[in-house]
Symmetry: C2
Subunit: 336 residues, 2 copies
């Protein structure tokens, strides 16, 4: 396994550098999120707080506020947009967990297991609508257009993924189409809408969209790799979730292609028919690592991260640009 | 039973008169609906077509286009808004059927029983996002604000209803609050946003909002009555759905109040604990009719219909205004 070699060759990256530069903006976004998740119907803030407090990295709103600042914003217009982006993301997480029947989300028990699937569906709808109310407040019809389109593309990606779940014959091309829609699109829309709301030129808005789109691919692919242990020697606590749900992600698809006829029956049993026994995950992981499918996935993620960094070249050197570059590296090389 | 007397006293009303006046507009709305439900992900148009083709009366988009015309619109701006309203409505129907586990919708097998609950949730999300894309095309930020707010209020109403399901102690006041949010709000928003998009004065927009809100109450209350047979001697084919799902609607709440301690244990068993046997629905219906709870519900619906008609008084006499008045009467006196 030459994973260690590959690690040395790549900068580790950081999300903290960018987060520090945006500390004040993100405090404002957090305040907006807490304020706008309120409702006289008490289940709504309780359930929303459970998933939002579960503390994702708030990457998408971070991208929106940083894009606005990089585009020269001196106002707080980006904050409402950023909160809207996080609400759209949270709504999709709530619905995804119902769709997938997931047991955990961000290390906590999934909301639908506490409040029931119906509440998760409806609170997702609430957050989605709230997102549009926040966007109206920004007054930017173009930002609204970008995010409405993103929300629609995400739904299309989710349905496409659902219709091809457990499909060991899924092509890598179709898989990339799925993650473009269900993950990369919202990163792209967050960055682009932040720029647009700040009055950026079409070229700068397009550059930030491209950065976000490529960053989204890098994040999703390294996420897929982390589910099989990624670069770590020991498995993270949620490792194996994709496998147990029978999701055909890139490491698996590469391994299916490379192991060929010899393992065909294994893949069809554990993914196609989802008949899994105790040791299957470890066998799958050994096959995936053995044929270099994890490396291939992370190499592809690194390629997207490079494209993300390249897209920033039209901006002059700045701390914000450095921070975005470090985030792209982090997307590939994170350990969790 | 003096139902027959009450019927004679009220004008029958009509939805056809208004539908005829808006034939050309509604053909345009239908074309938009078909066009915008398309997606390269084939499950989406298949599922959307199933529920949309299932042929609701398209009352909400009808309200939007008529409000726009009454407010003097000479353009087709109201059509996109009307299609957006129908998409929001359809999205909530898809999610409701999942939430309630309903078996039938508009006389056909519910979509989630054919394509699965996950697809229904995600196609609902798709239609919701498409609605906002359509609204962006209208260019009216104010119309967007009205409909985003409505979508949020609907979700709040649904969660409130869910949290009070099977509650035989639900107050009539809280019940009216629930139907205001989950039903009347979208009728109000459809009429108001249609008017606003057409450039109506604040007074005219507010009048049309008031008409829509009151019409929505009238519709929902007569819907509740129809579930127990309404004014008909024979039960409609979907009668008893609310009862079997243990939903506390107004006829039931009135009957619970009027039958008092004598039937307390019956209501707690069939609604509170949902332990129903074959004859329970007919016993419930006999109690509801016997204590005049159906009449009370329809009287309340008629009161809302009168308020709806009153709200139109600021508009000069016209065929459109007559049609809206006839629709308000129809809302109360329909047989299905």
């Amino acid at each position: 396994m030459d994973v260690a070699k590959a690690v040395v060759a790549r900068p580790a990256g950081s999300v903290d550098r960018l987060a520090e530069l945006a500390t004040a903006d993100m405090a404002g976004v957090d305040a907006l999120i807490v304020d706008r998740m309120q409702s006289p119907v008490s289940i709504i803030p309780a359930l929303a707080d459970h998933i939002i407090d579960a503390g994702g990295k708030r990457l998408r709103p971070l991208l929106a506020v940083v894009a606005a600042r990089l585009a020269g914003s001196r106002s707080d217009a980006g904050l409402k947009l950023a909160a809207a982006v996080e609400f759209i993301h949270t709504a999709t997480l709530l619905h995804d967990d119902v769709v997938d029947g997931s047991g955990l989300r961000r290390g906590k028990v999934a909301a639908h297991l506490i409040w029931g699937a119906p509440s998760s569906v409806l609170v997702g709808d609430f957050l989605f609508a709230r997102a549009f109310e926040l966007m109206v407040e920004t007054g930017s019809m173009r930002a609204m257009e970008i995010l409405a389109r993103a929300a629609r593309v995400i739904a299309e990606g989710e349905v496409l993924q659902l219709s091809r779940a457990h499909d060991v014959n899924l092509s890598q091309e179709t898989y990339l189409q799925i993650i473009s829609a269900k993950t990369a699109e919202l990163f792209a829309a967050a960055a682009e809408s932040g720029a647009v709301a700040a009055g950026a030129s079409p070229a700068k808005s397009a550059a930030l969209r491209s950065y976000g789109l490529n960053l989204g691919f890098a994040f999703q692919l390294s996420d897929d790799a982390l589910d099989y242990g990624g670069l770590t020697e020991t498995l993270g606590k949620n490792a194996g979730d994709d496998f147990r749900e029978g999701k055909a992600t890139l490491p698996l698809l590469v391994a299916i292609a490379r192991t060929g006829a010899a393992e065909r029956e294994f893949w069809e049993r554990v993914i196609g028919r989802q008949e899994q026994v105790d040791d299957d995950f470890h066998r799958a992981r050994d096959l995936i690592v053995g044929v270099g499918a994890l490396d291939a996935t992370l190499d592809m993620a690194a390629g997207y991260a490079d494209s993300a960094k390249d897209a920033l070249s039209i901006f002059p050197e700045s701390e914000l640009r450095d921070g975005l570059e470090a985030l792209a590296d982090f997307a590939v090389n994170r350990r969790a």
